[in-house]
Symmetry: C2
Subunit: 190 residues, 2 copies
């Protein structure tokens, strides 16, 4: 399954009903293929996935796309840009119909300073992303395409049908041609 964070989503959902909190959180909907954050553009809000799947990817000067991560329920994005500079280093696109909760930069920083629990959640989320990215990059570089594909499928069973092959290839950092060969090889040897 896609990476999710139910605990954080529950927390935010609970908050969005409390006075003094609900006004800071705005719900929003996106259709598939909608571009939510555009690379190199200003990011004014933080987003939390309520329902659906989003794709986080980076377009290189070579024209190639590289998928950083697929975001499921309770995953946050746009928060990295709140701390250092407001320009996004990646794009975010809805893969399925997507429901998000939006918090403005101003309110996000206010919450961080005023709500200890929120602050702790964000620290944990950031640390978790670092770990995820570190392990992923290392694994990718150190294993064969077949092994990388197997790992992805064990982490996200049922990604076929939801995520286009092009995106899977871009997540693994390989071409579609090579992805197809890997799939075939795995079928034959199983």
């Amino acid at each position: 399954m896609i990476r999710i964070n139910q605990e954080f989503l529950d927390f935010i959902n609970k908050c969005s009903t409390q006075s003094g909190f609900k006004d800071l959180i705005i719900e929003q909907q996106y259709k598939p293929k909608a571009l939510i954050i555009k690379q190199e553009s200003k990011v004014l809000d933080v987003f939390i996935v309520r329902e659906g799947i989003a794709k986080c990817y980076l377009t290189e000067d070579t024209g190639k796309d590289f998928v950083q991560e697929f975001f499921g329920e309770g995953q946050i994005f746009g928060e990295v840009e709140m701390f250092n500079d407001e320009f996004s280093f990646c794009s975010i696109e809805a893969l399925t119909p997507l429901s998000v909760l939006k918090i403005s930069r101003e309110n996000f920083i206010y919450l961080l300073s005023q709500n200890r629990e929120f602050n702790w959640f964000i620290l944990k989320l950031l640390a978790s992303k670092i770990k995820y990215k570190g392990i992923r990059h290392s694994f990718n570089q150190s294993h064969s395409t077949e092994t990388n594909l197997q790992r992805l499928e064990s982490q996200f069973p049922g990604l076929h049908g939801v995520i286009p092959k092009k995106d899977i290839a871009n997540y693994l950092g390989i071409t579609e041609r090579n992805l197809n060969r890997a799939i075939k090889t795995l079928k034959e040897t199983s």
Copy 2:
């Protein structure tokens, strides 16, 4: 040059002279090749580089090492393990004689909750690591070995003589053989 964070180092140095703060921070020295954090082991402290260079790497089940990052002055490590679980997903090794400032888990969490400036520094540091890792992984996957090497050399001029070739190869995710060919190719075409 190696990634550094002078602002944070200045802040920590200043703190370590203040009453109520200095007792929380311990200075420590390591010799080259000393293993400071061991993969899969418990991490009890957070470390901040005061002087020298450390290598952050991950050993895969294939026996291959992958270098995540080289830490310079003001860079922090061990902090990721403070938030989720205390077992390290990577190893940290001194490359040069290394001077670090150490903060125990207990005191780290205390500082996070009591010192707003410290809290904000950590948030920024974590966000910065995410961005660094994201951009790096994407660039690596999308460019040729030669281009990756050029990028590394432009970011860290003078890494030869300090960082062994094996580590450079492991940082780029390639073999030493291939690194040597890339170096030769770049020399010829320049």
